[in-house]
């Protein structure tokens, strides 16, 4: 089972994701509210996996992904986004995102995705 860092500005999304991940037996090692906080907590915890929202204040998810992958090329990061953000997804794929989760969350999809990445 994995240690996972959740990066999302929405408390609701963090809560729903935490529930799905913990139900699947994973440990949510910490939560960040924006990309910069996400980067800082990645450096601190070196988690097995990060779930990274795209639309966030201070530093968005794509920028945070690039920053983490720049310093930690082996980092595994799943991007989280609402539907219809294809251009952001393409940018994230080019920058090394492992996978995508589309809101609203589907527990089965998330857990099988994590299993295949780890």
């Amino acid at each position: 089972m994995a240690n996972i860092l959740i990066v999302d500005d929405s408390r609701t999304s963090r809560k729903i994701l935490r529930g799905v991940l913990e139900d699947a037996g994973h440990t949510v090692i910490d939560e960040a509210k924006n990309g910069q906080e996400g980067y800082d907590l990645y450096v601190q915890h070196k988690p097995d996996l990060v779930t990274m929202d795209i639309t966030m204040p201070v530093m968005d998810g794509v920028e945070a992904l690039k920053k983490i992958k720049g310093d930690f090329p082996d980092a595994k990061i799943i991007m989280v986004t609402a539907a219809g953000q294809k251009h952001n997804m393409l940018d994230a794929i080019k920058s090394g995102a492992s996978e995508f989760i589309t809101k609203p969350f589907d527990a089965n999809q998330i857990t099988s995705m994590i299993d295949s990445i780890l």
């Binding site: 500005d9 408390r11 609701t12 986004t81 609402a82 539907a83 219809g84 809101k103 609203p104 089965n108």
Partner: protein, 296 residues
């Protein structure tokens, strides 16, 4: 769905008490079976197929039946049959009024005729309300030639999403064009790109929307509750962006904003408001266009 509208009229003219109206609406909640469950029970689809359609529906603004047809799991006529089996809301409502000795069939017809006149509904409008088909119902309340098509499209999509995630007994009223709008509670998100829109859901109804989306009770409308409403708007905006991308339009969603003090939105004539009522609580959907808005 029809009972929510006609029942409110009967309550307003004193034929139904608030309690009777609430009871009839509550009872009708349990009279509609989910399409996937119905299809599986009828042996038309497997559980795995129903789950797959539900997953696609979570990412695409389309109805269960339409996706199932597209995937080849159901035919047009099977979907038609299943829809009939889901329950005729008009007949269920009429049945409830008669069974509770509130009105006779003749009296119902008399009130229905008056209701059509008062609300300026055509026979087609009443048929649409009786159908419970939100795609037919929403145009009744957005029928104003000065309202841009993108606003009408957005409202129809949000109405479908409210029905899916919040409450299938939501009632809408006619759209209004405003210059200013003031509320204590506003959850909002803007998009930029080929369409520049401000989307807000405001008022006391935010509590029910926030609770339904987060699946959590909030003691009051606080930042956690509005955060949940913002996420709900985010889902709606994602579905809208997805639809627009099929027309080669690109939309960037900005981080959501929430307001918990008295706040006024002003616009130079490009603000639209459609009231929606969920379990008696009012939530106003606000849409401002083309950056001509300000918030104080």
């Amino acid at each position: 769905m029809f009972g929510v509208y006609f029942g409110k009229y009967l309550q307003d003219i004193g034929v139904l008490t608030g309690e009777q109206y609430d009871n009839i609406v509550e009872e009708s909640r349990h009279s509609r079976v989910k399409m996937g469950l119905l299809a599986v029970n009828e042996g038309l689809m497997t559980e795995a197929q129903a789950d797959e359609v539900n997953q696609i529906q979570a990412m695409k603004d389309a109805r269960f039946g339409d996706i199932a047809i597209e995937k080849g799991y159901l035919t047009d006529s099977q979907v038609g049959d299943l829809l009939k089996k889901q329950g005729d809301s008009y007949l269920l409502f009429v049945q409830a009024l008669i069974e509770k000795d509130i009105l006779s069939l003749e009296e119902i017809q008399k009130h229905l005729n008056k209701y059509k006149k008062v609300e300026r509904f055509t026979a087609l409008d009443v048929d649409a309300l009786k159908s419970s088909d939100i795609d037919k119902i929403i145009p009744i309340f957005t029928r104003d030639s000065t309202v841009p098509a993108v606003v009408k499209d957005y409202i129809a999509m949000m109405a479908r999403t409210i029905i899916r995630f919040v409450d299938n007994k939501v009632r809408f009223e006619r759209i209004e064009r405003l210059n200013t709008y003031t509320s204590k509670y506003i959850a909002s998100q803007c998009f930029s790109g080929d369409y520049e829109l401000f989307i807000g859901i405001c008022g006391d109804g935010d509590k029910l929307i926030g609770e339904a989306y987060a699946k959590e009770e909030f003691p009051e409308i606080d930042e956690d509750c509005l955060d949940s409403v913002c996420e709900f708007i985010n889902i709606c905006n994602g579905l809208f962006a997805s639809k627009m991308s099929q027309e080669d339009a690109t939309i960037d969603m900005l981080p959501p904003n929430m307001y918990t003090e008295i706040t006024t939105i002003s616009s130079e004539g490009n603000m639209f408001m459609i009231p929606c009522f969920i379990r008696g609580q009012r939530a106003d959907i606000i849409i401002c266009m083309e950056s001509h808005w300000s918030i104080v």
